[in-house]
Amino acid sequence: MTSPDIHGAQRLTPAELQSVNFQRAPLGRRGFDEDQVRAFLRQVEQELVRVLNEKAGLENEVARLRERIAGSPPGVSTVKPEDAHIQAVRILSNAQQTADQYVADAQRYSREITELARRGRDEILSDAQSRAVLVLEEAHRQASSAAEAVAPSTEPMSGDERRDLEREIAYLRTFSDVYRTHLRSYLEALLRNVEEWEKSERDSVSDTRASLPRMD
């Protein structure tokens, strides 16, 4: 640039101030002291550099604040408000899908556990039932064989026969007592199990309930 005249449309830069040349005044006419003019231009140039730096800094600051408002990650220079909204919608949608996944997983887990417990219960019950049937059948069989042992002897029993029979009856009583005790403790253990399950479940649910607001 050689002309000192600056067009309105063109922006003045520090480099232009450095390279500016003034034509000498025609002979016989007076002019400014050239050194003074150059010194002043240097001063203007330094001021302009400072102003431009400050402006760039402020622009960065504005962009940074805009980004913070929009919640977008750094690196994206400027975000239009509608884009920021779409981004927020996406973030919220992802969060919702994660929550949905957790809820679905928890429900599936709970269903599997309950199904397992239900199957276990059915097996325990049918097992107990068939054991009870076996015990009864065995007792029945013993009883009828004892009865058969007694029935044919229409003649009065000898002392030995009576003792044998008494021993047999005593044995059957013990047998029946033992099995009854077995069966009782087995069923009691089952009941305790069931009660513990129910209690722990009640506790867990009433904890949840206590923490929730009561509706009116």
Partner: protein
């Protein structure tokens, strides 16, 4: 408003499936954060429901005689969620934003106007229906549990007392919400005809992994409060009919039939009634003693229990309900009421049709399996 343009645009948008509803709710909650608490934590069912309701509305947008009753019911149904007139514009704005987003370049000012007009029209219908409803009944009833009886480890019968009279017709159901599972409304049928003391009975079966039924069966206690929505349902007694009656209930599908039975019992000259009550195992016939007591003192009532999955001995018939019903007598001259799981209900209706009952004499209600 160009109905075809709306349908085409919706078909285009609906290709994105669940994403559409996901976007809609995120947009709605971002613009109106206070609306979030009106919804449950898990939103997948909510999104399915939104899409199916929208699909139905759009498909009938040029068929107002069919559409308006559906939309009015939607408006009434939303009262119990706490929805008010001021929420409608907020929802409309998010709906249009969602449609615009998924329409991409095919969006136009014309479409925006069409959707806005359609939404304004339908929301007006919903708001008016809700306001009309509000003139005659509350948004919901508070009810206290006054009795609760476990009939099996996974079956309970409970009685509640609403804070205000709760008018309904026997056979109807309501949706209820328990404090331990907020925003999760579940449908249950009243198991009794309306009583002078306003109490209501419900039969609840625990659904494995379900959120609400385990609370109702295992942990809710006498003295607890629940919320009740208004009565709904069309499986009600045809009071003009003089015909004999067939009631067929699978498991807790018995509940609405018991209410209908009580209504019949109040008639001066009850018709003959056969009540079939089925379960998989004999201990699933949780209300049989009570039913048999009723039948013993009631010449017009016959109760037939059925068990499908094992041999119940002399306690009940063995087989599925459709089979047992088919095995017993001829039903062509009867009115039939069927309630149970979807599978049981469909199979029973099919069998009744085969047996010569006509469609208009069969009324059904299915309970949801989840």
């Amino acid at each position: 408003m160009d109905a075809q343009r709306l349908k085409d645009n919706f078909a285009h948008v609906a290709q994105h499936g669940d994403q559409v509803a996901l976007f809609f709710y995120s947009d709605l909650f971002l613009r109106n954060p206070r609306l979030r608490e009106m919804f449950p934590v898990g939103m997948s069912h909510q999104r399915d429901r939104l899409l199916s309701a929208l699909g139905r509305i759009v498909s009938q947008v040029d068929n107002l005689p069919d559409l308006v009753p559906f939309v009015q019911q939607l408006g009434r149904d939303h009262r119990k969620f706490g929805v008010e007139a001021l929420h409608y514009p907020e929802v409309g704005a998010s709906l249009v934003a969602t449609l615009r987003y998924f329409s991409g370049p095919s969006w136009s000012e014309q479409l925006a106007q069409d959707w806005t007009d359609a939404y304004n029209l339908l929301s007006k219908v919903m708001i008016e229906a809700a306001q009309e409803d509000a003139a005659s009944r509350p948004s919901w009833w508070n009810a206290q549990i006054i009795a609760h009886e476990r009939r099996r480890f996974d079956l309970a019968v409970m009685r509640v007392l609403p804070d205000r009279p709760f008018p309904y017709r026997p056979g109807q159901a309501l949706s209820l919400e328990v404090p331990a599972r907020l925003r999760m409304w579940r449908y249950y049928s009243m198991a009794n005809a309306p009583r002078p003391d306003n109490t209501l009975d419900f039969h609840v079966r625990l659904i494995d992994g379900g959120p609400v039924s385990p609370v109702l069966v295992r942990s809710i206690a006498v003295g607890d409060w629940i919320k009740l929505g208004p009565p709904i349902g069309t499986m009600t007694l045809d009071e003009r009919s003089e015909r004999d009656i067939l009631l067929i209930g699978g498991s807790t599908g018995l509940a609405p039939l018991k209410a209908i039975l009580e209504q019949i019992a109040a008639r001066p000259a009850p018709p003959r009634v056969h009540l079939f009550f089925g379960a998989r195992y004999v201990d699933g016939l949780y209300d049989l003693d009570e039913l048999q007591k009723r039948a013993a003192g009631t010449p017009w009532l016959t109760v037939i229990p059925a068990v499908s999955d094992h041999d119940p001995g002399p306690a009940a018939e063995r087989g599925t309900l459709p089979d047992i019903v088919g095995r017993y007598g001829r039903w062509q001259e009867h009115d039939a009421y069927v309630c149970g799981s979807p599978g049981m209900t469909d199979a029973t209706v099919d069998r009744l049709l085969q047996l010569g009952l006509s469609h208009d004499r069969i009324r059904t209600d299915k309970y949801a399996d989840a």
